[in-house]
Symmetry: C2
Subunit: 308 residues, 2 copies
């Protein structure tokens, strides 16, 4: 049984305990998605569960946004493998609430359906259950001829990222203080765009290793470094920012759903159709090193859910 090396932390201790318990009954745990060879292509699958009070609050977003965001998180795992999307299966746990004029489950599913359709997929099935809290669990299916894992980063590779960083953390911190989010930032939090097209393009360019940014850029590059058996050096001032955010905060901002990629030295971003920025490089060694203006700085801690 081959599992990718996992970094430190209680969540990863739990996964290690499960992998040990399952033995040969588990296959390839530890990457963004599982890969199963089928004929001349590979099936790529992942599951991501969002729970009210842990991943979202119903007074922060509409039900449609809750559905979009939950599905975007799962689709982002397919993007990180360079996979095209087939579709999604969705379990929704619903509270029993009054109000005949609202139909939260249909709203949630409309949001899930919208983001799945935006990347060319379909809703393939689902389950509706009663629950004390709203739950949206999304299992996504895709295909990739050459899936890109977290392993495979090589010394000398450039570290590149899609998009711009920092907005979800600022929006979340504001919501937790009871503030109304800046409308220019709010969409990065409520309706993130999974980088499916960018992932497919980067895989075709020969990406060595790829991960989506869910725990925070520094933390996720730590996972990529561990899986690849390499060190990664990041120049924080090169991290592209959304206006109003700062470089070190952006490195710790979670649920960005942008991609971080190790690409060969000769790579050029021409023709990507998406913003790509080189923020550092792969070296021999282990761990993540961050500099700001040439001076070594502490690696900002990754995002953990607000209900920790």
């Amino acid at each position: 049984v081959t599992h990718l090396p996992l970094g430190p932390g209680a969540e990863f201790d739990q996964i290690r305990a499960i992998a040990k318990r399952l033995g040969t009954g588990a296959q390839g745990l530890g990457d963004d998605a599982a890969v199963i060879t089928m004929g001349d292509t590979n099936l790529v699958v992942s599951i991501d569960c969002s729970v009210e009070g842990v991943h979202f609050r119903t007074d922060w977003m509409t039900f449609e946004e809750i559905g979009w965001r939950a599905a975007a998180a799962a689709l982002s795992d397919l993007a990180a493998e360079g996979a095209a999307v087939i579709g999604a299966l969705v379990s929704v746990g619903r509270r029993e609430e009054g109000g005949v004029d609202s139909d939260p489950v249909s709203e949630i599913m409309a949001g899930v359906g919208a983001v799945v359709a935006s990347v060319g997929g379909k809703i393939l099935g689902g389950d509706l259950v009663k629950s004390d809290t709203y739950i949206v669990d999304v299992c996504v299916l895709g295909t990739a001829r050459r899936p890109v894992t977290r392993a495979g980063g090589k010394p000398g590779d450039g570290i590149w990222v899609t998009g711009r960083f920092g907005a979800p953390r600022i929006v979340l911190e504001g919501l937790m203080r009871g503030e109304t989010p800046d409308p220019r930032l709010r969409g990065f939090f409520a309706t993130p765009e999974p980088q499916i097209q960018a992932g497919i393009w980067l895989a075709a360019q020969g990406a060595h290793a790829m991960i989506d940014v869910s725990d925070g850029l520094a933390a996720d590059l730590g996972h990529l470094a561990a899986a690849s058996g390499v060190a990664i050096a990041i120049e924080a001032e090169k991290v592209p920012l959304v206006t109003g955010t700062d470089h070190l905060g952006a490195l710790a901002s979670g649920e960005e759903y942008e991609l971080a990629v190790a690409l060969p030295p000769a790579f050029t971003p021409d023709g990507a159709g998406v913003q790509l920025t080189r923020i550092g490089e792969v070296k021999s060694g282990s761990g993540v090193e961050v500099t700001l203006g040439g001076k070594r700085v502490a690696v900002p801690k990754g995002f953990d859910h607000f209900a920790t």
Copy 2:
């Protein structure tokens, strides 16, 4: 967009509302599992969510049994399509509890892993989340060259079932009264066997339509009749029973995870390797008609979860 016709009921009203909202963004909702053509075979996928207090209680079963039962429910949907199993992705919601000696999540996953392995599959991935209640959501993947849907039953077909009926209802009713279940019946409730091998064999024999018994035999044959556009006549006294159960109760016993199948008149069960019993036949018309000793009786109501 082709969806199978659904029967009456609040759950199906909700699914119809979602299907309408999603329009062409959904594909083939309403069968036990979704089918996606891939090369020269079909991918068959389903998702099934079990929630503490709705589908199970932690004082009724061990965590390993909770995991087994939740995964068996999902695998049973693959059995109903005649699919072979690739594996499962599992989201687990866990309560934060004291006690360093127990690891409920690993126990749940061991149960899931055991039943998935028993039908030749692997654990392919998962997600662990904090929650107010335990949740086990299982997405299963399989393949079938000729998937069997609920539609396709024809007048003249025999209605056959695998296994024996009635135990889960009796165990559940006893547990709700605070009784210790009869150990000869308990396993039918706590660790049901998904009928994967039987489903594959029945598909190969030319099954016209198939469903797994989750809502109750009479209710599920109602779904099959609606999807096939036919009527079904059941002779209740022919339903094979677990010792200590009764025919009408058995027709209303849910979460049996046996298969009910419409097979051509010439079908014989020789060589099935599993108990197969003919309990009725397909006629033209609509709905389900139940007789006991030749006299028409009311169709027992299907099982709804105990927390209704």
